[in-house]
């Protein structure tokens, strides 16, 4: 049993931690390697970071729910999801520098939740958090040996849009959604817009 049906919901949840830590840039990195049968999710933020003592306790739900209310249950949920799918979880943080959270999975593991609606999730990250920039990097190493990559960097988009335009504009929303859908098609092959699993 997992709390979230999709891994992209975990990504959004961990992303929120970075936003709360005052980050102005969050990097979302997804690497799928079908040869190594591995999926790695990573979020890096340049927020306030955490003291070593909190990092040590953060993945323990019994401790974190009681004493570190502002972090909550999201991290134990992700750790549990990774560990029940032949993977690992890690978190590194440095005060004043930021936090890196990652989780790996056996890609083909029967219990592994699908990545799910990545287009909608990245759209929520980009539009819902106007105070920070998002760099979404996604790499797929196919079983054939071919490698496909897709990146979306809101710093490039903001440089065009300027301060007076928001990502909530309907035409900008359409642009972003189509760009992300094109990205999914590049990563998984034409004609596929979602990570069907």
């Amino acid at each position: 049993m997992t709390v979230f049906r999709e891994l992209s919901q975990h990504l959004l949840d961990i992303f929120e931690n970075g936003a709360k830590a005052g980050a102005n840039l969050i990097v979302l990195n997804i690497v799928e390697d079908f040869n190594a049968d591995r999926l790695v999710l990573e979020l890096r933020d340049n927020g306030s970071g955490m003291p070593a003592e909190m990092v040590r306790r953060i993945a323990d739900p019994w401790v974190t729910t009681r004493t570190t209310r502002k972090v909550g249950l999201g991290i134990p949920f992700l750790k549990q999801a990774a560990e029940m799918c032949g993977g690992e979880f890690g978190i590194e943080s440095e005060l004043g520098v930021g936090t890196r959270t990652w989780a790996s999975f056996q890609h083909s593991h029967i219990d592994r939740p699908p990545l799910g609606d990545l287009v909608g999730t990245v759209l929520c990250m980009v539009v819902g958090f106007p105070m920070l920039d998002v760099l979404y990097q996604h790499t797929v190493h196919a079983a054939t040996g071919a490698t496909q990559e897709f990146n979306l960097d809101t710093r490039e988009l903001r440089a065009v849009l300027g301060a007076e335009m928001s990502f909530s504009d309907p035409e900008v929303l359409g642009f972003l959604r189509e760009m992300l859908e094109e990205g999914q098609a590049i990563l998984y092959g034409e004609g596929t817009t979602t990570n069907a699993e």
């Binding site: 249950l73 949920f77 759209l123 929520c124 988009l157 504009d169």
Partner: protein, 121 residues
């Protein structure tokens, strides 16, 4: 492929519209996206809101998120504020309820009382 030139053209069109109509941000929509919200479907609620705004070409709405607001049992929670008016907090605002919310409150300006969380102060 989507290009930055295309985004530049979108910006120019939007700014031209804005000059014609003097429009600004009229409505603020806030989706609660804490762990509790996401577990209850807040991500799907928010993408449904963005889809509606895109489809109906609503240009004067700012959509943002907030963390857990302490009403986890009512998630997904969405707040709507028109201008400087009172903010209405909706509970159990699933993606299926979004088209009606956008039509009636966000665009039409009429809050949906039965979906709002009653304040017992």
């Amino acid at each position: 492929m989507k290009s930055l030139e295309e985004l530049q053209k979108i910006k120019e069109r939007a700014l031209e519209r804005r000059r014609m109509s003097a429009e600004g941000v009229r409505v603020r929509v806030v989706v609660a996206m804490g762990t509790c919200g996401i577990a209850a479907g807040a991500r799907d609620t928010m993408t449904a809101i963005l889809d509606e705004l895109e489809k109906q070409k609503v240009t004067d709405v700012a959509v943002t998120q907030t963390g857990c607001i302490g009403l986890c049992e009512y998630e997904p929670i969405v707040q709507v504020q028109i201008g400087d008016g009172e903010m209405v907090t909706y509970g159990k605002l699933s993606a299926e309820r979004v088209p009606a919310l956008v039509e009636k409150h966000v665009v039409g300006g009429e809050p949906i009382a039965e979906w709002a969380i009653k304040q017992t102060a």
